[in-house]
Symmetry: C2
Subunit: 149 residues, 2 copies
């Protein structure tokens, strides 16, 4: 975030180590994927699950899938802002987009189902339509920062 | 978001009209800026204020400023997720990065101060260091979507 310059006395920016980054990525639910093709940068929110190496989500064919197929190098961003105190935490990573097939689809859906279970059973694979895309982004070059106030 | 394919019976995706987009951008506090230079896409969260046409923030020189100076065409993304019900709302826009100078700096800082006031007075311009950048991104090609559950 960017209020640090404006309120320099409230909290210094700290780097998160890998354990803190992992804990944060396990705890959060929304990531923003940044992709780029032919001069257009596009940022889109996704509900994700994290297995310690990659983020997984399920979506339908559309602009972001078209763009990530054309250029699989994407940015993954996750953040949390404390509106009361003004502190924040964010993780930014580079990663490579992969579409899953076969057994990996079921494993990814099971991971997502455990993460987002709301006291109901979901049928999983039988609900997937022909335009459904289950995707994984392996994270590399991961960095995290936080300000505590 | 991307659970719509997985839970097709819960809520259809609706487009937000301009009034709903404006209301949402006035109400939210965190935007993600997506920028791209030389094959690297970078998404970074910022605390922003909105005046109906542009988003404003204040930051310090660093990777995102360097990148936006090199390629001012950026993506602005704002979202809100209801973790209890699973509904969500998002706005995605293209825009052009501009660094402010002169009177526009004070106007932008006043807008940010009103938005983020926490019952205290802030000195404004006298707190700005030499590496502080006050920036505006004029929004164009704005779209918004929502799922209510």
């Amino acid at each position: 975030m960017t209020t640090d310059a404006h309120t320099p006395d409230r909290g210094a920016i700290q780097s998160l180590d890998r354990a803190a980054i992992d804990s944060f990525l396990h705890a959060q639910r929304i990531a923003r994927l940044g992709c780029h093709v032919d001069g257009l940068t596009y940022v889109v929110p996704v509900i994700y699950a994290y297995d310690g190496e990659s983020v997984y989500t399920v979506t339908t064919e559309g602009q972001k899938v078209t763009m990530m197929r054309a250029n699989p190098r994407v940015c993954v961003e996750v953040d949390e802002y404390d509106a009361v105190r003004g502190g924040w935490r964010s993780v930014i990573a580079q990663g490579d987009y992969e579409e899953l097939a076969g057994d990996e689809v079921g494993q990814a859906l099971a991971l997502l189902r455990r993460r987002f279970a709301r006291g109901e059973e979901s049928g999983g694979a039988r609900e997937l339509g022909p335009s459904t895309v289950v995707l994984r982004i392996r994270l590399a070059e991961v960095s995290g920062r936080a300000v505590t106030r």
